[in-house]
């Protein structure tokens, strides 16, 4: 039932998108689409990414930068170009505080868009609130992203994506006892795995957390710990690199058939297929937060076109990139509704909070912000199976069930969406 409703929404979204963007797929369309270079007074917009070990989270800001260049080339925000200032916090909490202060206080940006930094959100959530600036993030993996008044992310993060993966494992693979393997970081692995276990309990099943030291060398022991627990399903609540490490250990130990293997989005990465090989064919299921990279949706194709035309060499084209595109697009659409001469932080914050029922075929459901103490507009995803170096959709858009979403559903009811 829900399934068909979703397809209906998707179909409508598709029609809207194709109406809004009649241009050819390889001809990017952004903002006003007037093909006039914007020359007015620039609007300062910030973005913070985390690009250093343990991961490159710059996809979101890369895509936002490409989209903004495209907007500036096609009329800007009613004639005013966007000046996009991107900072890298290098996964360093102290640096994260510093660069955010620089953007928000010294540069006076009207908003932050495309943020893909895990550390920055935890450190700066209060700063954003106190300074009244909105953050339209794209790559989030910690609780602060989804439990702050001034941060709204277009990606799902580990919680919905993980529950989505578990939902599939329970309903289609027959999982009864799942181990959630995550980093021992309270607002990341601890937070997400806690809710995984609550989800399993709500289904009358069992779940356990195996939290590992992020610097741990010995993944073998982590795997053996899962073996000793006697679980039947392993949920890899990890960034791609350690998740791959664990899969390698499992391959070495012949663990493919001992467990059902599911994972949230991080493993859905263009580079994964090359590294995994054939061993995992049809035995690894991944929940994806946005549309597949090769999807035929108009917005997805426009994302590719924007990246082709305005992206830099070396820009990552991953989930965060799609997500950064979505954030940037909705942001610009909100700005276009404002009087170009009255664009300041207060007006922009209000405009972002006013976003409701925004459609994109990259998302399963409409996007919205609203004026609330927490935001999680994206919580419905798809499931793919890894097979022969590619990912095949095994279940299209479906929403998750978790009491975590209770306050979110209330917001949605008040805004009259997703009913």
């Amino acid at each position: 039932m829900r399934f068909s409703a979703n397809s209906f929404v998707a179909a409508i979204a598709y029609c809207f998108a194709s109406l809004a963007m009649p241009a050819l797929a390889d001809d990017p369309s952004c903002g006003l689409g007037t093909e006039v270079m914007a020359t007015g007074e620039p609007i300062k917009v910030g973005g913070i990414n985390g690009n250093a070990p343990p991961g490159d989270f710059s996809g979101g800001t890369d895509a936002a930068a490409a989209y903004f260049s495209c907007v500036n080339a096609q009329g800007g925000v009613n004639g005013r170009p966007i000046e996009y200032i991107v900072e890298n916090d290098q996964w360093n909490p102290e640096l994260a505080g510093q660069v955010a202060t620089k953007l928000v206080k010294d540069e006076g940006v009207v908003a932050l868009v495309g943020n893909g930094s895990v550390v920055s959100m935890a450190v700066n959530a209060d700063l954003y609130r106190d300074e009244g600036v909105m953050v339209m993030a794209s790559g989030c993996a910690i609780s602060e992203c989804y439990e702050s008044s001034n941060i709204v992310s277009s990606n799902q993060g580990p919680l919905p994506s993980g529950i989505g993966a578990l939902t599939y494992a329970v309903e289609e693979l027959g999982s009864e006892y799942a181990a959630c393997i995550g980093f021992n970081i309270p607002n990341n692995g601890g937070w997400a795995c806690d809710w995984m276990n609550k989800f399993m309990e709500s289904k009358g099943l069992k779940g356990t957390s195996i939290l590992m030291d992020p610097t741990a060398v010995d993944l073998n022991s982590v795997y053996l710990q899962a073996l000793a627990e006697g679980v039947d399903t392993i949920l890899l609540m990890l960034p791609a690199a350690p998740a791959i490490g664990l899969l390698k250990v499992a391959e070495e130990q012949g663990g493919r058939d001992l467990f059902k293997w599911v994972s949230p989005t991080p493993l859905y990465d263009p580079g994964v297929a090359e590294v995994l090989g054939d061993y995992w064919n049809d035995n690894l299921y991944i929940n994806i937060e946005l549309a597949p990279f090769g999807s035929e949706g108009a917005d997805n194709k426009n994302w590719v076109a924007v990246m082709d035309a305005y992206g830099q060499d070396g820009d990552r084209r991953d989930t965060f990139s799609q997500s950064g595109y979505v954030s940037a697009r909705f942001f610009v659409e909100a700005l276009l509704k404002l009087d170009p001469n009255a664009i300041d932080r207060a007006a922009v914050t209000k405009a972002i909070q006013g976003i409701s029922n925004a459609e994109s075929d990259l998302l399963c459901k409409p996007y919205y912000v609203g004026d609330a103490d927490r935001h999680m507009p994206n919580h419905a995803g798809r499931m793919v199976a890894y097979s022969g170096g590619a990912f095949n959709i095994v279940r299209d858009c479906y929403d998750i069930e978790s009491s975590y979403l209770d306050p979110i559903r209330q917001q949605e009811a008040a805004l009259g969406i997703n009913q």
Binding site: D56, V217, L219, S221, L224, Q225, P242, V272, G277
Partner: protein, 289 residues
């Protein structure tokens, strides 16, 4: 059965710590330098070996290139940087290698961006089952090489002429110079051997654990713990220390409250070893060793 499982797994990790520790001890013995950049050299070698396989060259070439790059990077520091610090206190020599570590880590980051990579060695596919754990040939090789390196080095130091020179240098640098031992040549050799081991360790580490430069770089800290178990001097004790640390760390997994603290094993064991070593000394008069 379960214990056997974790025991075997622990030996595998322990042999990596031991390999790192042995390379550190060989260098420290003949040059007096504790090389904190050892892990970074290992990381650079592993990344280079990965690059070689990317170029489509056969596996054996990539193995050799890792060892050669490790030796070259190590000799570079030993030949051009270390002599400037020859007369400073040992701790300053050790701390200076941190500068080299940062340089290497930065260069690795400049050359290879963050991406998912793996080194697949042909020996990964072959394996035997031991106590229910499948042990791949790669792990067996890591184990055998660490034992082989210890036996080989002990014999080399004992029997060969250059080995004798190294031991003389380790005992007293000034006296060795007076005796006419070619210090630079002997030291260069030690840097080379240590670097080659670093390259090999990096390759195995990258294959068995993760091919991530920072993870491999900071492996030097637990490896130092293994070296401490050998009092920075004894190769067999370093090997035993590394293996012991690995096994303890792995076994702690079974004890749930200890599971999250198991990575402390190297540090706690090394600290206990140091304290044990000092047990006979006078309470008040500190010494340098």
């Amino acid at each position: 059965m379960v214990y056997g499982l974790f025991f075997v797994s622990g030996l595998a990790v322990g042999s990596l710590y031991a390999l790192g520790g042995i390379g550190l001890v060989i260098l420290r013995n003949s040059t007096g330098v504790l090389n904190f950049s050892y892990g970074a050299i290992a990381a650079a070698s592993a990344m280079f070996a990965w690059q070689v396989t990317e170029w489509g060259l056969p596996g054996i070439v990539s193995w050799l290139s890792a060892v050669l790059v490790g030796a070259a990077l190590s000799i570079f520091y030993g030949r051009f940087v270390a002599p400037a610090l020859a007369w400073r206190e040992p701790a300053v020599k050790a701390v200076a290698t941190l500068g080299y570590m940062l340089i290497l880590l930065g260069l690795i980051g400049l050359i290879w961006d963050d991406a998912l990579r793996k080194i697949a060695l042909p020996s990964d596919k072959i394996g035997v089952s031991l106590f229910g754990v499948r042990v791949t040939l790669t792990r067996i090789i890591a184990f055998a090489v660490s034992i082989g390196a210890v036996v080989g080095m002990v014999q080399y130091l004992r029997r060969s002429h250059t080995g004798l020179n190294m031991r003389a240098l380790a005992d007293n640098r000034d006296h060795a110079a007076l005796l006419g031992i070619a210090i630079v040549k002997t030291e260069t050799l030690a840097w080379g051997i240590s670097g080659a081991l670093a390259g090999f360790t990096g390759l195995i580490f990258g294959s068995l654990v993760r091919l991530e430069p920072t993870v491999i770089t900071f492996m030097v800290i637990p490896a130092t713990a293994a070296a401490i178990c050998g009092r920075l001097r004894s190769l067999p004790m370093t090997l035993a220390g590394g293996l012991f640390i690995g096994v303890v760390e792995s076994m702690l997994t079974l004890y749930r409250p200890g599971a999250s603290l198991r990575t402390m094993a190297p540090f706690v064991i090394a600290a206990l070893v140091i304290l044990w070593m000092q047990r006979d000394q006078q309470l008040t008069f500190a010494t340098d060793s």
